[in-house]
């Protein structure tokens, strides 16, 4: 088996972070955790994960700012990112940022089964 794929979970809500960590691990991923945007940027740029799950509303630094920071990095410019949030993408601002910073997906947590989220990651990483 090849080296485990690493997935960085940037999520301030511990309970949800744990659920994702457990499920990803169960499915054979190597989860990395960050509890806000700032930590997320730091870990992303240092560990270069295969996939980043990014929440939007977080303390210290929000998800969109974190994504901007990641995109400024030469590695980060093309890093695969999935926005996983509970904020509907209704505001012009979010839509604009999405177009500019090109996350692969924009998923609403409450609408997605956790197994479906992980399956989606698997599909994207062609496992």
């Amino acid at each position: 088996m090849k080296t485990q794929k690493t997935v960085l979970i940037v999520e301030d809500e511990k309970s949800l972070r744990d659920a994702l960590t457990d499920t990803l691990r169960l499915k054979g991923f190597l989860p990395l955790e960050a509890k806000n945007g700032l930590e997320g940027v730091r870990i992303a740029l240092s560990k270069h994960p295969d996939m980043i799950l990014l929440d939007l509303i977080m303390p210290e630094m929000d998800g969109m700012t974190a994504l901007k920071k990641i995109r400024e990095d030469s590695w980060g410019a093309h890093a695969p990112v999935i926005i996983l949030t509970n904020v509907s993408a209704t505001s012009e601002k979010i839509v604009e940022d999405m177009v500019t910073h090109k996350p692969i997906n924009y998923l609403i947590k409450s609408d997605w089964k956790i197994h479906d989220v992980v399956d989606k990651i698997s599909g994207l990483l062609k496992i």
């Binding site: 309970s15 659920a19 089964k113 197994h115």
Partner: protein
């Protein structure tokens, strides 16, 4: 001649004759002489007779004269009588005339008196009238002052125009809100002085203005929502709720009254409210996600096998959570509609696949209720340009309503067709409970649920039809329905292709 003189002479003669007879002898002798004397005497007598005759004649003449005189007198008397009579008549006439004159005079007097009275009365009446007029004028002035005060004190902006639309009055709120002084505004055309903008931000033309409609068609516009914006003197705008009514006198519009209210504050409050709902809903999603994900993890057996009852109970929790998630999503849709952030994002869409997937979602309940589905998707479709997410919501709402409100064993029709003008026709029919006649006009109202289904189903929010009507109309389409209680309902939707609506 005097009669007394004649009569004694005659008596003397007779006496002489008697003496003569006694002395016949003597006398016969003396007869000759006496005859002579007699002849003389006869002569004298003849003369006397002649005298007598003449006297008689004279007397006759005298008598005649007398007669004449008498006659004359008679005539004179008669004349006199005539004159007298005439005089009497004249006197009578005069008397009559005098009477008449007296009457006339009396009449004149009475008229004069009456005239005097009338003049007095007139003067009195005039004075009373004068008094009344001045009192009434005072009353009217007071009433007018009161009216003006009332109009001026109305908390909404008020503009009155004449039949040409020229401003004749504006209250103080009008002055405050629009920045125009009444004396500047008076006589100007309201439509020129105060430009108005519609919900799309376009300046409204003269003919589009509610005032014009009111003046030309005499129609009253009820209070509108804040879809209009008024332009102030300095060019800035504010949202306004407005109503216009014609002023009609004897069936003719002689002007119009425009009442408006600055709803900036209300709009802000409304927006804040909607934003709160949106935020609250997002916050609600996090705990719902926790419940959903962990329940799912257990149900999937991630942490070991479950006992049948444990699985059943967890499924109940999962379903309850799912319903809550749906409700929050619906609330968010409503707040998006009301915030105006419902964006239509048209993409080429496979309508049949979309319809099939929505139908598949409903399968479990359809099978449970043993409903028969009559699908009619024609011969399939070319790819249709529309917002798939929004069209999915339309399909979902109509189908889930049909499934929910049809008793077991009923039929549901689901047909979709595309006409030559690239308009999509959707029909969803059922043999369900139907919509009561008296509530048909409320069916698209937010939070409305018909009485006959409220008792049968407690999960509805009364938001579905409100949302899809907004979506459909936002996309340039239309929705209508036919329904009969306990027979069924059919919803008809027409939706133009996004390209043709742009």
């Amino acid at each position: 001649m005097d009669k007394k003189v004649v009569i004694p002479k005659f008596d003397d003669l007779i006496l002489t004759l008697k003496v003569l007879a006694k002395d016949k002898e003597d006398v016969r002798r003396k007869l000759a002489v006496t005859a002579k004397k007699l002849a003389l005497k006869a002569k004298q007598l003849a003369v006397t007779a002649a005298d007598k005759e003449s006297i008689r004649r004279e007397l006759e003449i005298t008598a005649k004269d007398k007669e004449n005189v008498r006659r004359e007198l008679e005539i004179t008397a008669r004349d006199k009588e005539n004159v007298r009579q005439k005089l009497a008549v004249t006197a009578k006439k005069l008397a009559l005339k005098a009477k008449q004159l007296a009457v006339t005079a009396a009449d004149k007097e009475s008229i004069r008196q009456k005239l005097t009275v009338t003049a007095k009365e007139l003067k009195k009446s005039y004075e009373t009238l004068e008094k009344k007029v001045s009192e009434r004028t005072k009353d009217l002035e007071q009433a007018r002052a009161k009216d003006v005060a009332i109009l001026s004190s109305i908390a909404d902006g008020l503009i009155v125009t004449d039949e040409k639309g020229r401003i004749t009055f504006g209250n103080s709120v009008f002055e405050q809100l629009l920045g125009w002084r009444l004396d500047e505004a008076k006589g100007k055309l309201l439509t020129d002085l105060v430009p108005m903008f519609n919900s799309l931000g376009n300046k409204m033309t003269q003919t589009e203005r509610l005032l014009t409609l009111s003046l030309t068609k005499g129609q009253s516009t009820p209070v509108t929502g804040a879809v209009y914006k008024y332009s102030r003197k300095d060019g800035s705008v504010f949202p306004a709720m407005i109503s216009v009514s014609p002023v009609v006198i004897a069936g003719v519009a002689v002007g119009a009254v425009e009442v408006f209210r600055d709803v900036t504050k209300e709009e802000k409050i409304d927006k804040a409210k909607t934003e709160f709902v949106s935020l609250a809903s997002h916050q609600l999603r996090t705990p719902l996600t926790m419940i959903g994900w962990y329940t799912e993890m257990i149900l999937k057996g991630d942490v070991g096998e479950l006992l049948p009852n444990q699985k059943k109970y967890l499924e109940e929790i999962y379903e309850g959570n799912k319903r809550m998630v749906d409700m929050v999503n619906t609330l968010l849709d409503v707040s998006r509609i009301e915030l105006g952030t419902f964006k239509v994002e048209p993409k080429p869409t496979d309508i049949m696949a979309l319809a099939q997937s929505v139908l598949d979602e409903q399968k479990p309940e359809i099978e449970e209720k043993k409903l028969v589905i009559d699908e009619d998707f024609g011969k399939g479709f070319p790819i249709f340009l529309t917002d798939a997410k929004l069209l999915r919501m339309v399909f979902q709402n109509l189908l889930s309503n049909a499934v929910k409100y049809t008793p077991p064993g009923g039929r549901i029709g689901f047909s979709i067709s595309l006409d030559d003008e690239k308009i999509l026709h959707i029909k969803v029919s059922d043999t369900g409970y139907g919509i009561p006649n008296n509530q048909k006009d409320q069916i698209f109202t937010k939070l409305f649920r018909a009485d006959n289904v409220r008792s049968k189903d407690t999960t509805g929010t009364g938001l579905g039809l409100y949302i899809i009507k907004s979506i459909i109309e936002n996309s340039g389409g239309k929705i209508r329905f036919e329904s009969e209680e306990n027979k069924g309902t059919a919803f008809y939707v027409t939706l133009p292709s996004a390209s043709s609506s742009r």
